[in-house]
Amino acid sequence: MLCVSNKMDTMLNKVFITKWHEMSSFEEKSNLIQLGSMFLSFGVYVALAGSMFQGEEVKLMDFAPLVFVAILLLIFSNAAGHAVVAIASRRDTRDERDKLIEWRATMHVSWITPAGVICGIAGLFLEVQPILLAHLLLGSLFLSEIGKSLFRLYDYRSGV
């Protein structure tokens, strides 16, 4: 078991720069917190909205409290995570590598939100239900942000 664990560690160290806890900067931890918060809030939203869709007929306004809860969850989980990291680790300022990584990630996902908007406009022409269009736009927004965080994570780990 120990041998497998050591092999796994060596393999991970080859893939990534070095051990995770030794390497991650404040910006990288911050990115992880954002990713976790987005998965949490979007996951809760999808789970609850999914159950609402399965029930009786729903109106767009029925989802408003759910969106509000998801946003609050996103804000509070982000704030709590950042507070913990700020207390526990050294607070580094963003440097040129952080900016480059953010720029690269933004470049990779910049098409997602516009694609969602274009699909939304097409949906209006095709008279798709507003409730579906709203979720299409919300989904593209979340997907774009989650994708951005994942690309940032990849660049932080593998190098740019």
Binding site: I17, T18, M23, S24, S25, F26, E27, E28, D92, T93, D95, E96, R97, D98, Y156, S158, G159, V160
Partner: protein, 78 residues
């Protein structure tokens, strides 16, 4: 064949750090205004710094830039 994620720019930062009283990555990072993780990435040829940071590194070690960084031309260019 270059490993994925590696740049063509190699460097002598690790050797220079040890020649300068075993300077830590954090100490170098503080002097050039970047994070320790960035110094580590530069040292491991995982990230090519801007010219400004490259000059700052050379200035810390009091050597010319070409004593710190080397560019490996590709076989196609050769």
């Amino acid at each position: 064949m270059m490993a994925k994620g590696k740049t063509r720019i190699t460097n002598e930062i690790r050797r220079l750090r040890f020649q300068h009283g075993e300077m830590t990555q954090q100490a170098l990072a503080d002097r050039i205004g970047v994070t320790r993780q960035t110094v580590n990435a530069i040292e491991g040829s995982k990230y090519s710094p801007s010219l400004e940071v490259a000059f700052q590194i050379a200035q810390v070690f009091e050597v010319p830039l070409d004593r710190v960084f080397h560019y490996q031309a590709s076989s196609r260019q050769e």
